[in-house]
């Protein structure tokens, strides 16, 4: 028996954090990258002649999508149908209730899990009987302990697989919280998890893990992305990673760059297979000029212009070094540090961001990540004023 465990394809999801300087050709590639990755997965299913395909939620990036995306999905699933490969699909927190909205009818080979935990059984061509248990989100949050509704392993089947979109957590957490012990207690042969975009194994045997998403969506989702091709080996289900990355996100740390030429030389020396989107962090000793050019964007423009088309620098940052700290003058450093913490802790965003400002901005800058970004920006400002 052979099947695919995939999740979080987030079809139609744009790349976050790009600016408008990106070349048109690359932009078009970016727009279709989630679709390309998905198509690779389908092609992989056909090539490997798998018995079925599992999709553990977040097929779409949102409940809202478009004709093109739906037609695409339909075509891809029909490719599987032609090869008699069934698809077992559940919705996650992003595409919850996707089929309740305007949606094309699914091809016959697609089985969508409902809100309630249900089990679908099939007999694969090799004669083995497989039970697949899963559920779909009906809201962006699933706070109930859904795992309690999962039946224990059915004795009459050769394999039982759990299809689960959620995260480890305690009751009341938003994304169908579960514990590894809770899953193990069901005695399933494989838990195909979705939701976390980083590929990871929570338990070796029986396998409990995330296949990760098919394509990185922002600069934090670095590294190769793809799905698991799972093969039965003496009654054990062994996943093997298969890449579908269309555009690779990479973070590159460059220490002590002297000039832009030096920086460009180091970047072009990096091995490149698929188009790569870099986040570059400059560390170590930076000259005043390098810092200035980094801050005013000249350096970024220069690097972008110098690199080949399949290498794009999304962001160029400097790691704040401890040595640089805060201004030291009549006002003591401890006051600056205390004041910064105080300001960031007690910030009242509504005072600055009126209601016309989109919510996501407020949300972001209230998040730890956003606050960190603000902290860095503020430090840069103060340092610039000081100098």
């Amino acid at each position: 028996m052979k099947f695919i465990h995939a999740a979080d394809s987030h079809l139609g999801n744009p790349f976050r954090g790009l600016d408008r300087d990106i070349p048109t050709s690359l932009k078009q590639f970016v727009q279709t990258s989630t679709l390309q990755a998905f198509e690779k997965m389908i092609t992989g299913a056909l090539t490997a002649k798998v018995d079925f395909v599992l999709i553990a939620g977040d097929l779409y990036s949102a409940t809202e999508n478009s004709p093109k995306v739906q037609v695409f999905v339909h075509q891809q699933f029909e490719r599987l149908q032609t090869a008699n490969i069934p698809v077992f699909l559940s919705f996650g927190n992003h595409d919850f209730e996707a089929d309740q909205h305007a949606h094309l009818p699914w091809p016959e080979n697609v089985h969508v899990f409902s809100q309630n935990v249900t089990t679908q059984e099939l007999t694969v061509p090799s004669g083995e009987r497989v039970a697949i248990t899963g559920f779909s989100y009906q809201t962006p949050r699933q706070v109930q302990a859904v795992i309690a509704d999962f039946p224990t392993r059915h004795a009459g089947v050769d394999y039982q697989i759990g299809l689960y979109h959620g995260a480890v957590g305690k009751d009341g957490d938003p994304y169908a919280p579960f514990t590894i012990q809770g899953l193990l207690a069901k005695h399933y042969d494989y838990w195909a998890l979705g939701h976390i975009h980083v590929r990871q194994t929570l338990h070796e045997q029986p396998f409990i893990g995330y296949s990760g998403n098919l394509q990185g969506l922002n600069r934090k989702e670095t590294g190769d992305k793809g799905y698991y091709l799972v093969t039965a080996d003496q009654g054990r289900l062994q996943p093997v990673f298969q890449s579908t990355t269309a555009i690779l996100w990479e973070e590159v740390v460059i220490a002590d760059p002297v000039t832009e030429v030096d920086l460009i030389a180091r970047l072009t020396a990096l091995p490149v297979q698929t188009p790569v989107f870099y986040t570059i962090k400059l560390t170590g000793q930076l000259t005043k000029e390098v810092k200035a050019r980094c801050l005013n964007g000249v350096m970024l423009a220069q690097i972008r212009a110098a690199l080949p088309e399949n290498q794009w620098v999304v962001k160029l940052t400097m790691a704040p070094s401890a040595a640089e700290g805060l201004p030291a003058d009549q006002v003591d450093q401890k006051f600056w540090q205390a004041a910064l913490d105080h300001v960031l802790t007690n910030v009242d965003m509504t005072a600055y961001l009126s209601t016309q400002v989109p919510h996501f901005i407020r949300d972001y800058y209230l998040s730890a990540e956003g606050k960190q970004a603000l902290r860095e920006k503020m430090q840069q400002r103060l340092l610039a004023r000081k100098e």
């Binding site: 600016d19 478009s66 105080h342």
Partner: protein, 787 residues
Amino acid sequence: MKIKQVAISGFGRWSKQTFDLTTQMQVIQGQNESGKSTLRAFIVGVLFGFPNKKGRTNVYDPRDGSRYGGSLTVVFGDQTVKITRLGRTQSHLTITDLADQSEILHPEAWLAEQLAPLNQDSFDAIFNFSQQDLAAITQIKGADLQKLLLNIGAVGSAGWLNVASGLDKQADKQFAQRPTGKRPLNLATKHYAETAALVHEKALTLPDFVQGEKALMADKAEVVAAQKTVVTLAAQVKNHEQLLQQYDLYVKAAALKAELSNTPQSVSDDDWLAVQSQAATMTMHETALQTLNQAQTPQVGHVSSDTFEFETALAQAQLEVQSLQKQFAQRDDWLKTQQQLGAQFEQGTIPPPLSAQEKQQLTRRGPAMLWLMASLVVGVLGFLVAKPAVLLASIPAGIAYWQYQQHQRQVEQILVAYNGLTINEVLNLQNALKQQPLRKQKLAELNVTISDQQSALLRRLKPIASHFDVPLQLSDLPKLVVELQHRYEQQKLTAQHDILKLTQQQQQRVEEIAYHQQQLDQLRQAQRQIFARYQVNEMAELTARRQNDLTTQRQQARYQDLMRQLDPKTLAQFQQDTDRQTLQQALAQLQAQLSVAQQRVFDHQATLSNHQAQQAQLTSNDQFLTLQQDMADEQAALLDQFGDYLADKLTVNWINQALQFASQNRFPKMQQLATKYFDHLTQGRYQRITFSETELLVTRQDQQTFQVFELSTGTQEQLYIALRLALSQVIGDIVAVPLLIDDGFVNFDPQRKETMVTMLQALAHTQQIIYFTTQWPHATSNNVIKL
């Protein structure tokens, strides 16, 4: 700092007026319009600069034309100076140290330094207030107060405050809080909202698309259904066409069957073969008979007649040959004689005999008589030999006559002819000569006879010789005859043998003929029997019958073939009550239905392709992915820009906060002090002042908390004054300037007013207070200036 004297040159309603002030609490009392506010404005103007003429601001131009401005005598610590500021638009500041009357250099800077960190704003905010300012209490915020304190409290904060102010301005250029703002971030936000709306709007078209797709499926189903109908109908039409064709076949088959039923008995193959064989055998016998009949008689008959002819002819020829041999002997005899005669003459030429005339001439006797006698002889001879030769007699007679005539002349001539012979010899010879012509004639005649006989003989022998293939030879006729006879005998023998043989053959043939005839008869008998069986008389008829049989067989086969093409069910149907017209009508009806159904397919297909085009349009026009990415890009840009904006704004906060911390927390102290004053002023009714982010709260003794606007006007004013006093006190270690209070306690009840006055008087020990009021009912008198 304390103000000892106010000397006005010209300012508003005041000119050339001097006021000496106490350095503790100075009350300035006057009715409305008495110039209290003008005086206060003058003090502020000298310290911080006169007001510029802007808008409706009162600039206090002197009413009576006195020189604008005046001076203050002020004590800074242990230094007493006179600050003189003259002229409004181009005001001139001089500061004179009263200790030595020296003028201070750079008076503006010096004065600013003395007043630092106060500027007019902060001075007004802390030390200078009026009834109107009290109303602003509802607007007051902790942060403003904090800032105010920082301005004064944190050492070296001015630079950082400038930085903060710069950042604040920079941030404000980027974004305005009001929704109608036109600054870059406002515009970007608006644009983003539009993009988001567009994305949302596009998403709303999805149901249409899905609906369209469902409609498309329905269209397809309809097309399929219609096509199915067409297929069914087409099959029916085809069936009916076949039915019609089968019907035609059926009709043909029926006709054939009828025809076949009328045909006579067919000639059986055995009979036909027998007849064929008989005919062949008969032909053989007939041919044999014919050959036998043709080959009869001729040879036998021919041989015998020939033989007879030849036998007679040859016998006769033998006789003729014997006769000829006699004649040949005669001729030889005669020729011998002639030759003897001829030998007497030269060259053998025998002269003719002398004519009678010649004889006469020679003998002198009438030769004519001689010729006459000769003529008689000739005549006789002629008559004897051959009658026609009689005529010859006339010739000598004639000649005799002619000879006589010529006698004389001719004697010589005659002698010439006799080659010198003498006349006697000539005359002796005349007898012989006279016989010569006769002999000659006889010889000639004999030759002719021989020749004739030979010719006749040859003529008769010729066919025989030819028969036996023997060459005809005149030279030896006898031999020829013998040869021929010999040949004849031989042939005769052969012929006799042949005849015998032929006779035998003939016998055999007759037998054969009889045999063949018998066979023929038998065959004819058999043939006649067969003919009788089919009621025909001759072969041709039977052949015709046979020919007919083939046609019939073909028809039979055709019939079978036709019948095979008809399935039993159809056949049964045809055999009942079908006719072609009914079938054709049904077909026409079906064809009409088919054409309608086909039209329906076309119509549905047209609708389908229309919908497909619309759907394809929707898909190809689908900007969702692009718009999403655009939106994400805009979000990224907005996050970044708002990050900058927030960083600017928060850096301002940060600077303020740092300065706050650095200014040793004057704010909490001020808060504490203000609470004390407020508590005091309200006779312990309110026990706490708290500052939230946005507002000021007071807590009553019963622990109820109120917002400022919930308080009575008087209490609000008391709160305000408590804060002002606290502020001025809390920075007292840095800067101490007089408090200027203009009609501050109008809404106070008497009791609170009393408390207030007491409190101010207590404060005035350390800080000069100049209090402007309309009424001063209190007992103190030394410190009241009445205007």
